[in-house]
């Protein structure tokens, strides 16, 4: 989803959260997932939706993630 809706976005694992940098902004609260820090963790869809809202890419994200 990020590749298509936020090209160039970078996920940076931190000790407690994943940070996502894109377009000069940072989403700092993406959960690490149940297996700890990883580049592609399994994350509750609601968190991804809030991140997409923050980056103002929700319409694009909905198409990719089949969100309502």
């Amino acid at each position: 989803m990020l590749n298509d809706c936020a090209p160039g976005a970078v996920i940076v694992p931190k000790p407690h959260k994943n940070w996502v940098h894109w377009n000069g902004r940072t989403y700092r609260d993406l959960p690490l997932g149940k297996h700890g820090a990883r580049q592609n963790p399994e994350i509750q869809i609601g968190h991804v939706k809030r991140m997409a809202r923050f980056f103002e890419i929700l319409d694009c994200a909905k198409e990719h993630l089949h969100l309502q």
């Binding site: 931190k14 000790p15 407690h16 959260k17 940070w19 902004r25 940072t26 989403y27 700092r28 609260d29 509750q44 609601g46 968190h47 809030r50 991140m51 809202r53 923050f54 103002e56 929700l58």
Partner: protein, 152 residues
């Protein structure tokens, strides 16, 4: 879907690399009930959200997540100035979609269409900001439980 516009006040003490900082925030969050669960999105600070089965659970998780973000910022900061700069950037990274809904929700509160009896009401125009100071003088008067209030 009901939106509740909340004011978020906290004072935290955070240890960094060679410093202890106090972070006092007066911010805005949007509480939403959606599909049987509650979500809290940061307006200022933006770029964070938490959920729970109840409003209280979601708000408690948001406070925990907020502290976790401050800890992550502290772990990266080389010194106090770097920490303060990044905390201010975090606070100023406004969530524009959440802000629009927050402002609409304030109008609904003022019109009496939305209420949250379990929360104190504060003026929506309450001054916002984040203050990051070096912690050097311990005093009981520094202790602060913080508050969530309904913006009205």
């Amino acid at each position: 879907m009901t939106h509740y516009p909340l004011l978020f006040a906290r004072r935290e003490r955070v240890e960094g690399n060679g410093f202890i900082a106090r972070v006092g925030v007066s911010g805005r969050v949007l509480l939403t009930e959606e599909d049987g669960e509650f979500w809290v999105e940061g307006v200022n600070p933006g770029g964070m959200a938490a959920n729970g089965k109840s409003a209280n659970e979601a708000l408690a998780q948001f406070c925990q997540d907020y502290l976790a973000v401050l800890f992550d910022i502290a772990s990266d900061a080389k010194d106090f100035d770097g920490f303060r700069e990044e905390v201010k950037r975090f606070f100023d990274d406004t969530s524009r979609p959440a802000l629009r809904e927050w402002e609409e929700a304030v109008q609904q509160v003022k019109a009496g269409e939305v209420d949250a009896e379990w929360l104190t009401k504060r003026p929506a125009e309450t001054k916002l900001g984040v203050e990051v100071t070096l912690f050097s003088q311990p005093a009981a008067t520094n202790n602060d439980l913080g508050e969530m209030a309904l913006a009205a």
